[in-house]
Symmetry: C2
Subunit: 417 residues, 2 copies
């Protein structure tokens, strides 16, 4: 097996998840799923591969033309690694709209791909909770969406002081655009510039460059804009439900072209991490792309990378816990066979057991259990095999007890922290 040695690096801009990283990611996914399901949302899924045409019409043009992984397959089909999940859910809902139970509540935690330069919080692949509600035209839907997003944050242990919910309404801009007589084709460009406002050095200069005739008047009107009746009502209803950290912020616009009503973003209040943790809004007209009448729709996305940064900043990351409860050290001839059978019995009682299959000294086997963060060890030697009595030790406290194969499961359950 000579020849060039392979690199162990992952592909540029993506992550390897070693067990402790995966544990954290799994905690994120499980928390998101639990909250979504507690609101009655059903999980759905789809392939990362989608026909490229799905993204051409309504996703931001910049994203499709410059930021997707797209290629032509061997059969001549243009295929894209999904950059976002909304077009996929729209496609699936339209395909079965005659049989699905509307109003429809769906969620998913897909990985999505963007081909862009890596920077903190913007990898080429990330995971994103997507929650969508179809068939509810009124403000009840906005209330539920924001309540759900807030509940996910609180389920991570965050308090209302740790994050802020900023709501806006795309209709605010429609009136400003109309008042400035800004032509239709320029509006989407201005919206995307507004969405990137915090990321660019001088927003006003950029706007003057993009729309020299209109920039001055637009900025004047933007500075005077306040909420709409819908936004005021929304904030009021959220307060009644105990959500007191929602504020109206007309500068929130969202990057996608398909939003047509209320939009919102969740921000970390910590100045170290001042980017949106979550964002969404109403997109009632997207489904028309498939040649059907519009279906009211609202949804949000919440990315894993930014949530991980948030949890780290606020000291909310979970502590790693090993999959195994008990490590069986094997000391003599025949101990591995004995341990395999014992482990089988213990697993039948829902105790997770790892059997030591190395030939290391007992001290080194115990050290390995400790390194793996397994809470209990039992050493199997000649005595234990003969008498069936074994000493179980809790490594963190040093506490020991004598158990048999019939009592070990109960002992573990009553002594595990």
């Amino acid at each position: 097996m000579a020849g060039k040695k392979l690199s162990t690096d992952p592909y540029k801009g993506v992550r390897d998840f070693y067990p402790e990283d995966m544990y954290t990611l799994r905690y994120l996914f499980d928390t998101m799923s639990r909250v979504a399901e507690s609101f009655g949302y059903s999980e759905y899924g789809a392939s990362i591969l989608e026909p490229s045409e799905l993204y051409r019409s309504k996703t931001s043009e910049e994203i499709v033309s410059e930021q997707t992984y797209s290629f032509v397959d061997r059969g001549g089909r243009e295929v894209t690694l999904r950059p976002e999940m909304t077009p996929t859910i729209a496609r699936m809902v339209v395909a079965r709209r005659m049989e699905l139970p509307f109003p429809l509540r769906w969620y998913s935690i897909p990985n999505v791909f963007r081909y862009e330069r890596s920077q903190r919080g913007r990898l080429r692949e990330h995971y994103q909770l997507n929650v969508d509600l179809f068939g509810v035209p009124g403000l009840d839907a906005e209330v539920e969406m924001i309540m759900l997003a807030s509940e996910v944050m609180k389920s991570f242990g965050a308090t209302e002081n740790d994050f802020e919910i900023r709501v806006s309404d795309r209709n605010l801009f429609t009136s400003i655009f109309d008042e400035c007589n800004i032509p239709e084709d320029l509006r989407a460009h201005i919206m995307r510039l507004l969405d990137k406002k915090d990321k660019i050095e001088n927003f006003e200069d950029a706007l003057h460059e993009l729309a020299p005739e209109y920039a001055k008047r637009f900025l004047e009107l933007l500075s005077t804009v306040s909420g709409t009746v819908a936004l005021e009502t929304l904030i009021g209803r959220l307060k009644e439900l105990g959500i007191t950290n929602a504020v109206i912020d007309p500068s929130i616009v969202r990057g996608f072209d398909y939003y047509n009503g209320i939009v919102f973003e969740v921000y970390d209040t910590s100045p170290e991490n001042s980017r949106a943790l979550c964002g969404g809004g109403r997109y009632d007209n997207l489904l028309e792309l498939f040649g059907i009448d519009s279906i009211p729709a609202i949804g949000f996305g919440m990315g894993d990378v930014r949530i991980l940064d948030f949890l780290e900043t606020h000291n909310l990351l979970p502590k790693y816990s090993a999959p195994a409860d008990v490590f069986l050290c094997t000391l003599t001839e025949g101990a591995k066979e004995f341990a395999a059978a014992l482990a089988k019995d213990m697993r039948a009682n829902d105790v997770h057991v790892e059997v030591s299959l190395s030939n290391k000294k007992v001290g080194d086997q115990i050290k390995l259990a400790d390194k793996k963060k397994i809470p209990f060890v039992i050493c199997i030697g000649e005595n234990e095999m003969r008498t069936g009595e074994m000493t179980i030790k809790h490594l963190a406290s040093g506490k020991e007890a004598v158990v048999t194969k019939d009592t070990v499961a109960d002992y573990v359950f009553s002594n595990i922290s």
Copy 2:
């Protein structure tokens, strides 16, 4: 929004997972995870994007050159959608081999991609449980791997009559190859032909075509071959652990070039579905590709599509259950607001609640709950809002009871099936 109407079809050869499909897939994943973790295996993960060079050396040449999704990214890097997980885990283990706790037990349930013609059970994208153990050179590792695979099958409700574990040893072929003087470069081709034996019309003709000088003698020796001492010992040890459906079958070879010892496959005993449900083996030399000394390694993969076929054939698919326990029908002005607050309280007690946000008649709201398979409904009208007393109804049995917001959670937990 005029213009060409978009298709709602997914990309060719991949699947959409509507909620009931996703429920089944999630059941598969959860069962696989639970069993792997009960043996002390830790979950890991990685991106589907890998540098193409990772697959060039040891994956089957046929797979890399004809069956992968590979493309050149905008930065000129050759990238492949992973066709299998073993090269990825090998890469990750080698990268941190100095700090990882060996013997190492890892599992993952990645999606993998093959660009081939779609046929039953062979989609272009499928999910695959991967379980791997590094650092154990002896038969204890084989015993544990096969025991774990068997336990996954049993956790799906399968009995030993429903499936068979076929074991073989690649060393059997080494001796036949040596005896026939078959040159090194032809051996891998013969192995791959053997792996496809059941899929091609006339294996013997194909072998004569591939290796005209050696075919006759090879077939003679193949027909006389029996197990090795290692295989006999393995079968014996599995029997001691209560696994009685393992047999020696020298025709099992596995398709990947990197296997170097014992290999095994799990087969459905039903003649309708006679393809491998799961396969694996020892691959001690794969990690040398990264320029390090070899590390003993063994693992297996189990694909979702074939397992789903198996569960369907044996009537073992789980019954769908809705995410929500209770559906709150909203009948009058203010009921939606009342229900949103009630639902919040109920969720704080771990009851999953969906609030009806449509303006349909009560009968239609209840029909919707039934269609969504939500077990309980509560109708919120003026009386309920005034008195706080509500009637909860179990739709399947028609059983009703009066509850308040303080008693509803207990009622649901004690009456849910």
